[in-house]
């Protein structure tokens, strides 16, 4: 019985590590990802990067994008995502307007499972 409880706990930890995310200074948490903009706070009309630290196991792949849902458009630039030692780095982002932007993180986990995480920020 104890073994079963421990196994369930381990499974829960592995399956939903989001709760373990610590809010990064100047950044935000999107599901299982702790995201730190560089520079912070997020600028308007200037390029920025994101340092993305998974709170659990490092995913196999990650794609990053951002849109302004109210304006029905995305960025004019395509970010490039590279794997770092403990996570990912996305370069080449630029918010060309002030307002609400929704980050979209498409995560491919090591077991092939895919997950879309979003986080909305307001930039001025």
């Amino acid at each position: 019985m104890r073994f079963l409880a421990a196994a369930i706990l381990l499974l829960l930890l592995a399956a939903s590590p989001a709760w373990a995310c610590t809010m990064p200074a100047g950044g935000f948490v999107a599901g299982s990802l702790a995201v730190t903009p560089q520079p912070a706070p997020l600028p308007v009309n200037a390029p920025f990067a994101l340092a993305i630290a998974p709170c659990g196991a490092v995913p196999q792949a990650l794609a990053v994008d951002a849109t302004m849902p109210a304006h029905r458009h995305g960025m004019n630039y395509r970010p490039a995502v590279t794997k770092t030692g403990d996570g990912f780095r996305a370069d080449g982002l630029l918010f060309h307007m002030p307002g609400d932007w929704e980050f979209v993180f498409d995560v491919t986990h090591a077991d092939g499972r895919r997950e879309r995480l979003t986080h909305t920020v307001t930039v001025q």
């Binding site: 308007v44 009309n45 390029p47 109210a70 304006h71 029905r72 458009h73 995305g74 960025m75 004019n76 630039y77 395509r78 970010p79 490039a80 370069d91 080449g92 630029l94 060309h96 307007m97 002030p98 307002g99 001025q124």
Partner: protein
Amino acid sequence: MIRLLPLLVVLLAAPAAAVEFTPAERAQIERLGPWPPAFTPDPGNRLSGQPAAIAFGAALFTEPRLSAAGDMSCASCHRPEQGWGDGRALAKGRQGDLVRHTPGLWNARLLRWFGWDGASDSLWAAAIRPVLSAAEMGGSAAQTAAVIRGDDALSRCFAAAAGQEADALADEEVLVLAAKALAAFQETIVSARAPFDEFRDALLQGRASEYPEDARRGLTLFLGRGNCVMCHAGPAFTNGEFHDTGLPFFTASGRPDPGRFEGIRQVRESPWNRLSRHSDDASGTSAFAVRHAERQHRNWGEFKTPSLRNLAHTAPYMHNGSLPTQAAVIGHYSDLDPDRLHSDGEAILRAQHFSPREAADLAAFLASLSAPADARGGGWLERAGKCGTGE
């Protein structure tokens, strides 16, 4: 009723209440300055900010021998006294009208993209384009190099600016360095402080200001319901990016102008872009825009947001020069045809239906973005100094 009549007359005649700005509006106003911004050299141009290069660039700016027929210089279309444009709806090329309006050069150094379609990602690459364009100056690298090498004054100026003799370089290198000198000169074309700048600074410092009430109301519209600040943002009043503003897709000849869609292709393929060996930025940081620019279907018919600074000195307006006055521009956005906009494009613009008073208020605000001192135009080439003499 008779007794109330004088009161009614007084009420109707009374001026509207003074405009007070909310904290959010004050924050928006703060972001529209300060002016002028500090100079930051272009890392891709080693001649940027160099006095010898500025003087050489000013000399080249008025040099007609860079054109195929020896009759056209940069200054033929970018006239200081015309707000660095030509005052025409469509630019004039070697064989008649071109398809777009000549863009002005005020504050060009603050931009990320150059040309209405952003086909260049630096001021120096943008300086090369018209020199080589068959429809514009029709010159070549060989011709530019020959003119510089064959003219004692210009070759001395080149050496002073570039630190190398033109004779020791390939034609293409001479062309690129000449363009970088032209860019160094154009970086000096910064508009003077406008009435809005005085108002902004006074507001933030809690000082009284003479800024007129109609301009204040216009500013409120600009920041609020008009949504103008969404694209005309920052101290230069432009986000430097591209939008479809509901103008016709077609040129005067009936052919479509693809705008930014084609501009992205051109800048990516340009041998002069910031990813090329001609950039002096070894870090590659300044190549961010061309490295990451993404071509999307909605880019079709998009054109660059122009700066609003010195608007009063740069008529006519829009990428095709189709609107002769600021009033016509305000009217365009007031009566915008939503059916003309891309169905899969941005959902930012909608007809504003400005009342006559609102249109007048907006015009008053826009007028406050122009520096009266710049209306005279001249003096820029002279202030750049005469190259080769140290003056």
